[in-house]
Amino acid sequence: MKKLVLMFLIVAFFAVGCAPKVKPMYYWGNYSQTLYSMKKNPGDKTTAAHQACLVQIIKDSEAHNTRVPPGVYGELGFMCMQEKKDQDAIKYFKTEETTYPESSVLMEKLIASAKSDEKSDSEQK
């Protein structure tokens, strides 16, 4: 009887041995693919697709309660800056900086340049 219980316990142990699910560190989605397409066929369509991918990565990460991968806010901010959406750009750069303090030298630089772009744009108007 004791043996049977022991055996049962061993079997149970092995059965659950592989159970704990490892949560992925980051959700990168289709990042590599959309970036590749953008470089292979540069244009509005592929650029929009890559930008949508970055937005999706942020959504997925929030949904799974994981950190947004390094550089994603920064890259999205940079794309916004190129579209002259400087307010959005600044917002993303700041989020990158708070998520990853290591990025602060670069982010402060980008924030400064987005601010000066914004200023020169409004002066032109």
Binding site: M25, Y26, W28, Y31, S32, L35, Y36, K39, K40, R67, P69, P70, G71, V72, G74, E75, F78, Y100, E102, S103, S104, V105, L106, L110
Partner: protein, 229 residues
């Protein structure tokens, strides 16, 4: 006598199994400096392309950020860095190696820089087959001391020989055509991804990794960690 023979056989088998021992090192032995300095942020510089494929560099760039972050590093957004460096007139050739790594600490606040040299990114055909070869050398340098913290190089060759089973000359002709088509279609990017996967297995885990400072005893191939001849 029989037992003796058996024992000898087992001894030989064990010997051949462990024969690769001296060629293996632990991560700690190979990259002690990296464990000491503990860089958190990595700046991936635009790859230096020594291959004959002009577009290798741009396409390679799409494959490296993701696996590096999964090994626990903060990786500066590569597209942003490339663009800034282009605007500020940094060389995108071998001359990049001559820029003192310390410079990238001032410019971007990076703890370390990663140089990538694409040595081969090419296709070869021969009568009855073909293959695609990607060969890359990775070097991480400290932006504090300028020393090499991590170094790894490897080559991946993927056979693209067609697999049809028609015999004779007709079969050979068919196979040659099939090989050419298959080789042309084989994308380099998945091969580069696999190569990154293999190479980065040898990098000490970074701050954001669950195995940070717990992977020092992991064994890796020694020859890939040595400077190339």
């Amino acid at each position: 006598m029989k037992i003796f023979k058996l024992a000898a056989l087992i001894a030989v088998a064990i010997f051949s199994l462990t024969a690769c021992g001296p060629n293996m090192v632990t991560k700690k032995q190979a990259y002690g400096e990296m464990y000491k300095e503990k860089p958190v942020s990595l700046l991936v510089l635009p790859p230096i392309n020594q291959s004959t494929a002009a577009d290798a560099k741009e396409f390679y760039d799409t494959t490296i950020a993701e696996p590096l972050t999964l090994h626990g590093y903060y990786v500066f957004p590569i597209e942003v860095i490339d663009s800034i460096m282009r605007n500020e007139g940094y060389p995108d050739t071998e001359e990049l190696v001559n820029v003192p790594p310390q410079k990238f600490k001032d410019l971007f606040g990076a703890d370390a820089v990663m140089f990538i040299v694409i040595k081969k990114w090419d296709t070869s055909y021969y009568v009855i087959g073909g293959n695609v070869k990607v060969s890359i050398s990775y070097i991480i340098k400290s932006t504090t001391t300028g020393d090499v913290l991590w170094r790894y190089h490897d080559t991946l060759k993927v056979d693209t020989t067609g697999q049809n089973r028609v015999g004779g000359i007709a079969g050979l002709v068919l196979q040659t055509v099939e090989t050419a088509v298959k080789t042309a279609m084989t994308n380099y990017v998945p091969i580069a991804r696999r190569l990154n996967f293999i190479a980065l297995n040898a990098i000490p885990a970074g701050k954001y990794s669950p195995v940070y400072e717990k992977d020092m005893k992991q064994r890796i191939s020694k020859s890939q960690t040595q400077p190339e001849k």
